[in-house]
Structure formats: structure tokens, C-alpha cells
Amino acid sequence: MKVPVAPPRRLVEVEIDGRSVRVPEGSTILQACRAEGIETPTICYAENLTPVNVCRVCVVEVEGARALVPACSRTVEPGMKVRTDTERVRRSRRLVLEFLASSVDLSLAPDLHRWQEVYEAHPERFGALMEPAAEGERDGREPGRHVPVEPGTAETVAQPVKIDNDLYVRDYARCVLCYRCVEACGDDAQGTYAIAVAGRGFDARISTEFAVPLPESACVYCGNCIGVCPTGALMFKTEHDLRREGRWDEARQTVTTTVCPYCGVGCNLELHVQDGEIVKVTSPADHDVTSGHLCIKGRFGFTFTRA
């Protein structure tokens, strides 16, 4: 069989935390760290998306560099000296985690809880949480008109859940603005561009055009935004309803990988089943056919399996 192979990649030697490491040319610092078993926190990074460098929680120190660099996107260079566990790195990561945890509901992001412990983050030091915004209030905020909260109170993104269709909900009180949904909706997968980041500073938020409800937007309900969301801000309506009723129980769920019953592309589906019902559908991010992304039929068209 004749299959073109990429030209062999040179190995590059770098030093991470004093250890000499050889990785293929073009690897990121994150890949090099993971290959060495050095745990590195990430939030906005996903293996099936292009790094956007917004969360800054993966930053490391590179000798000779003025600022800390994001490990997820910085590629290694020969002789590079990287430190992942200096006080400067730890302080920076701790601050990122504290700012997020003090302003966003991270209760469905267990990884972030673990990282808060590792980096001794104390988000409570920013004071009591302010009252949630009224429905739609944050969507109307304009750049340059931000009203600061009272001293000693932590400003939050808390607001009511947006439920405007039968397939998925948007709970932006849980949104850390990692951009993953924007990337999946746009350049990195779906090419629909139904959502983007609107507003500035603390008023920045993920929004449809003019904050219209999803059914009036360009959304085609592929649910690829849900597939990449790390904090549960975007969620199947089935999951949202079960959680509200206190019936969502991952311990009792099975996940079975199969192939979508619709068109001939052959997308791999992971069917999450609880109590004999499909409650959620995902796709493996490392599969050649889908890279983790599906269409509306594959993602939501499973209710026919219910009697």
C-alpha cells in the first residue's frame, strides 16, 4: 500500500524542570510536559481545537522570556529551558483559579476543584458573592459602562439559565469564557459562527448576534459547543432536566461507543445511558471521522429509541 507519510520529524532536546527531554519538532511545551508525566492544568485547551491562549492557567516559565508563556500553544525550541513549578508559575495559576472560582459557578468542573487544592487557591478571600444578575441584564451591558460592585463583594457572572429550545440549555453562570464553544461553532469544526464573545472586560460574555434566542440565531444545533464545554455551562436539556429533578447520576450511567444510524459518514457516537434511556451523546475527540464533532441528528436524533 502506498500511503504518503509525513517527513520524519527531528527530535528536539529541551530541559523541563531540570530534566532533559527529547520530543518531536513542532511539539508544544504542554505535549512535552505530558509526555514526561508532568501534570499541567488546562481550561481552554482541547485536543480537537486550536489553542486560543485565553485562560492562562497552563503558563510556564521559559528561561530568557520576559512573560510567562502558555504551554498549550508555545512550541519547543532546541535548548529551551522550561520551569513548571516555580513560585511565579504557582502564583499565576493560583490567581487564575481564584478569579474564576470567585466569579463563576464551577460546581460541574471537578478538575478545577482539584487544581484549586493543588495551587492552594482561596477564592473566598474576595468576599461575599454578589446577587445574580436579572435575566438578560448582562446581555445588555455596554462597553465602558461597567458599574463596579461594592468593596468586599465578589462580582460574579451569575444569571438565570437560558432555555429557549428543546435540545440544549445555556447556563452562563457557569461560563469561564474559555472560547471553546466559539471555536467549535466557528473555524475549528462547524463553520456556523452562531456565537462569539460580546462585550468587554468583566462584561464579556458568549452571545448570539444581538443576544437573540437560539432559534432566531444561525445555530444549527450540532451541539459541538456542548461537546467541548469544560464547565457544564452548555448542557443537553435532558441532562439539565434530570439534574434539576435530582435524578442525574453518572455512577449509574454506562457509555457505549457505536456508529450513528443516519447518513453514510460513519460517525462514532458515545451513548450515555441511564435507566435504560439515552441521556447524552458525545463523540471521541481522537477519532479520525469526527474529531469529536457531530451534527444535529447524531447528537440529538436518538429519541426514537424510546418506546
Partner: protein
């Protein structure tokens, strides 16, 4: 093609080619995740050219859209071929070494000047020229098609006309160059590969011509196999009309709704001596059956394999128990065999697969363990140390004639217009297709609450709507030579004047197949769903709701 019934390329190659041509395919909506690979190709610098009567959401991504008149694909392909040849852009070395029949093909297309093709296809000559030059000059080019090519009375010639272009430019058998039918259903490829077509044994082995294969199956099954092609679905309905086919066993099909000229099909189904339907739902066809066998949902309630449009065999697995008395298809068939006097013992999906591997050389290396480990394997995979095959027909590029194997034939493809002629009485061309959120006759997709759902409708161009005085949502009567339905109007700016569009997704609301024509390709048995002649009439004010009549 050339002795192997499958697309030649992998999806991955679409990301690394220079030109992607979607011909009669609205992949953006009908193969959305394949289109993700197309989008990556575009981002990597590939041009996209779309040939489609409608300016679809796929065409919206294209560098060039050729708005072709329905059913004139052969005229367009032949003109593209001529333009390539007269400008000396064809790949002479490849044609010389790897093909036969070039001279006859060349002579046959010479009548298709750009000007003539423009008159017949409705595509401006400059656009035809641009497609020809772009395809011939591309280092690598992938040509894909779907039902826009195959749901015609001359489907096979349509496909052959496109294959001719691939052969002309050597755009086949190389990484990033290929010819690909995108399969409409999750196991259309696998069904054919498993022998669920009238002329092949499993593994795409010819039942008449391949005596050696026949002998292998006879030895394994212990029964003689008659070297005779069976009937395709259209021939079956013809045999019913002749009174030769009295009993019908339908598995997972809904012909009462899905076949063209539904009125005739229902009459024929209703008059069978025996009609057995095995399905996951009480479909319209099942309602007519003498015996209904409730089946498990293959992709969700049973184990097995399916094969996708890049020839990748993948495992399906059981996530749910089937409801009530529904049973796995394999179990039902084995039980039926037992009652007919053939005890196969316990048949499992895996034992059936291993039997297939022993009989089909192209599947031999695909153990369940390897399918699991490699995330699926692309056929052919002849042995357990073979990685599977990314693209087909690399042999055509071999220097050594012995290794090159049989040459790929050019075909002479004469143009024939659609059977259902446009006349003053039926002046509009009706074509059919799918929408993003729905699937076939809606048996599965009507059960989830899609915010995108449009419902059964007749889609018309803004120009025709204005001419006929039609408003969005207004219920009108749509009639063809075969039947008549009422449907609400939806105005679509992607349609050209004279072209109207319907789906098959909502037969409860609008039974589109009362209108379509059962003119069938004798070679493939596919009906001309894509080209009916219709007229639209306004209903008296306060007209009734949509529906069949």
C-alpha cells in the same frame, strides 16, 4: 468502480487536496461531518466547486457554483471532458498506461461544445470552462457525488460520465485524488459489501461470473448457489406486476412511502399473497403486512459492524435492551431458517462476521479485536498484519504492467434528458432531497424536537412565487402526471426560476412520492426521484390544510 464498489479516497485526503468538486451533493446538510473535512480542506487552501441545481448551503462555501438544470449532468460532464481534451490538459501518460476506450470517448464528447452545453445545462460556458480547467490543472482533485447523480433514470451513465473525468486527468489512485460516492445511509456500503445486492456474494464477488467464489460459498454453506442475478427493488415491483413475485419479506425498509410513484407501490404491496415486514416501528409498510417481526435498532440495541463512505468497517455496539418482544435481526433470521429446516446453531454477530472473513478476501484481516484497536479498518484488508487501505486503485500508477492489472475503461455516456418532460401543463421541475435535521421518511427523525424543522412544504424560487402570486406558508396544490398533494409554500432564494423542491421527510403532512416518477435506471434500479414535472395551483381562499389527495 473498476471492480470495487466503493469510494476511492479517505476523508482525511479531502483535507490535503487542491480541489474538491461536490457534484449533485449538498454535503453541508446531508453529510455534515464529511463537510467538516471539506472545511478543513478549504482552510488548507483547497478550492471548492459545487455543481447543483440549487444554490445550497454547500454552494455557499464554494469558489464556484454551477447551477445546473436537473438531469443534464452528462451534458455538463461531457463538455468538461471535451474542454479538457481540446486544450490538451488530459493526462496522456495515465490514459495510455492505465485506461482503455479513450478514442471512442474522445469522439463521443466532441459534439459537446461549451456553447451547446450552456444551452442544455443552463450553466454559463465560462463556468463550465473554469470547472474543466480547474479540475485538469489541479495537482490533486477529489470528486464527490451523492443522490443528485444517482437518483435518475440514467444513474449509472451519470456516474460513468464523472468517472471518465477522473480517468482523463489521472485523478484517481493517488493520495488526494479520487472519486467518491457519499453514501446516504449508515450501512449502504456495508449492505452491498455483505452481498445484500442482487448480483454479488458477500465481499463484492460476482454471483454469475466468479465460479471460484461461488464454490467457496457452496462448500461453506453446504447448498448449491445458482449463478443467477436476483432482482433489484424496482425489478421486484415489475415482477409483482407480472404476477411472478407473490411473497415479499421486507427488512428495515418502508417502500410504501419511500418508493417513487407511491400510489402504484401501495397497490402492489397490498395485493401480495404474503407480506412480512421486520422493522423497529409499525411503518406504513408494516401496517399492510400479514406478519410483522419487531426488530432491535441495529446501531443501538445490537452488536455488529457497519461500513462507511470511506470503506471503513466499524463496530456498532449494544447500548440499550430492545423493548418488548423486539429481537436482534440475526436472531430472527436464524430462527426463521430453523423453522424452514436449516439449523445454523447459535449465530452471533461475531460468528457471522468470522464466517464472512473466511469467505471474503477483502475482509479477511478484520478481526473484532483489530476493529476495536484501530478504530475501524478500511477495506481491502486481506490479512491480519495489513493496516487497511486508505485509497483504492494505486495499482493504476504502477510502472510494471503486470502489477498495474486490468485497465480502467472509459465509457461512452450519451446524454438523455429526464423522462418526465416539462410541458405547458407541467411547467415546473420538481427535485427532491434532504434537510439537515431530518432523514428519509422521517420514521426516526420526526421523533426528536428539532428547532430547525420546516415540515412538509413545496419550496419555490422568489421569482416563481411572485409570478404565481404565492405567499410564504400559503397552502397550494402541487400536481404531477401521477398524483396531487396539498403543501404549504416555502420561498427559498437558493432556487432558480422553474425549479421547485420537496423532501420525503414528512409523508404524514405531504406525501411527496405521489408526485415522483418511477422511471428507473435499468442498470442500477434507481428511480428518478430527482426529476418530476409538476404544476402549482392556488387553492380557493380558505383552502384546506396540507395533505395528500
Amino acid at each position: 468502480m473498476f471492480g470495487a464498489g466503493g469510494g476511492t479516497s479517505s476523508y482525511e485526503e479531502v483535507e490535503h487536496t487542491d480541489l474538491i468538486v461536490l457534484w449533485g451533493s449538498n454535503a453541508r446538510e446531508t453529510h455534515p461531518i464529511f463537510f467538516h473535512h471539506v472545511l478543513r480542506g478549504i482552510r488548507n487552501g483547497a478550492r471548492l466547486i459545487v455543481v447543483d441545481p440549487r444554490r445550497t448551503s454547500s454552494a455557499a462555501w464554494a469558489d464556484l457554483w454551477l447551477g445546473i438544470d436537473v438531469g443534464s449532468d452528462i451534458a455538463l460532464a461531457n463538455a468538461v471532458g471535451r474542454e479538457i481534451i481540446v486544450n490538451g490538459l488530459h493526462n496522456e501518460t495515465f490514459i495510455e498506461r492505465a485506461t482503455t476506450g479513450f478514442e471512442a470517448y474522445r469522439d463521443s464528447v466532441m459534439e459537446w461544445t461549451l456553447e451547446r452545453a450552456e444551452r442544455v445545462t443552463g450553466v454559463p460556458a465560462a463556468a463550465i470552462r473554469e470547472l474543466a480547467h480547474a479540475y485538469a490543472r489541479a495537482d490533486r482533485a477529489i470528486l464527490c457525488w451523492t443522490l443528485g447523480i444517482t437518483e435518475h433514470h440514467n444513474a449509472v451513465d451519470n456516474v460513468l460520465a464523472l468517472i471518465n473525468l477522473g480517468l482523463l486527468c489521472g485523478h484517481v489512485g493517488r493520495y488526494g485524488s479520487g472519486l467518491n460516492p457519499l453514501r446516504g445511509q449508515n450501512n449502504v456500503q456495508g449492505g452491498g459489501d455483505m452481498g445484500a445486492i442482487p448480483n454479488k456474494l458477500p465481499g463484492f464477488q460476482d454471483i454469475e461470473r466468479d465460479a471460484e467464489a461461488r464454490a467457496r460459498f457452496e462448500a461453506a454453506w453446504g447448498v448449491p448457489i445458482r449463478p443467477r442475478y436476483g432482482w433489484n427493488i424496482t425489478q421486484m415491483f415489475e415482477a409483482m406486476e407480472r404476477g411472478e413475485l407473490t411473497a415479499l419479506y421486507v427488512i428495515g425498509e418502508n417502500p410504501a412511502v419511500s418508493e417513487a410513484d407511491a400510489g402504484r407501490i401501495k397497490r402492489l404491496l397490498a395485493s401480495r399473497e404474503t407480506l412480512i415486514v421486520q422493522d423497529i416501528f409499525m411503518t406504513k409498510t408494516a401496517e399492510m403486512a400479514h406478519v410483522v417481526l419487531p426488530a432491535a435498532v441495529a446501531a443501538v440495541e445490537s452488536e455488529g459492524t457497519v461500513t462507511n463512505s470511506e470503506r471503513r468497517v466499524q463496530r456498532v455496539r449494544k447500548a440499550l435492551d430492545p423493548p418488548g418482544n423486539a429481537r436482534d435481526d440475526i436472531w430472527i433470521i436464524a430462527q426463521l431458517a430453523k423453522r424452514l429446516g436449516f439449523d445454523w446453531g447459535e449465530v452471533t454477530p461475531r460468528s457471522a462476521w468470522d464466517e464472512l472473513r473466511s469467505l471474503s478476501p477483502m475482509h479477511r484481516g478484520m478481526t473484532y479485536e483489530r476493529l476495536e484497536e484501530l478504530g475501524g479498518i478500511q477495506w481491502p484488508c486481506p490479512s491480519e498484519d495489513h493496516p487497511g487501505t486508505k485509497f483504492l486503485h494505486a495499482r493504476l500508477w504502477e510502472e510494471d504492467p503486470a502489477r498495474r492489472g486490468p485497465a480502467a475503461p472509459f465509457s461512452v455516456t450519451p446524454f438523455e434528458p429526464p423522462v418526465d418532460e416539462l410541458t405547458e401543463e407541467f411547467p415546473l421541475r420538481l427535485t427532491t432531497g434532504r434537510r439537515l435535521d431530518s432523514y428519509n421518511t422521517g420514521v426516526q427523525t420526526s421523533r426528536y424536537r428539532s428547532p430547525l424543522r420546516l415540515g412538509g412544504a413545496i419550496e419555490v424560487s422568489p421569482e416563481d412565487a411572485e409570478r404565481l402570486g404565492l405567499r410564504e406558508g400559503e397552502v397550494v396544490r402541487v400536481s404531477s402526471r401521477r398524483g396531487s398533494v396539498r403543501a404549504p409554500v416555502h420561498i427559498d432564494r437558493g432556487l432558480r426560476p422553474g425549479l421547485v423542491f420537496m423532501t420525503l421527510h414528512h409523508p404524514e403532512e405531504v406525501e411527496t412520492n405521489l408526485l415522483t416518477i418511477e422511471a428507473t435506471d435499468p442498470k442500477s434500479g434507481t428511480a428518478e426521484f430527482k426529476a418530476a414535472a409538476v404544476r402549482i395551483e392556488k387553492l380557493p381562499a380558505g383552502g384546506a390544510a396540507a395533505g395528500g389527495s
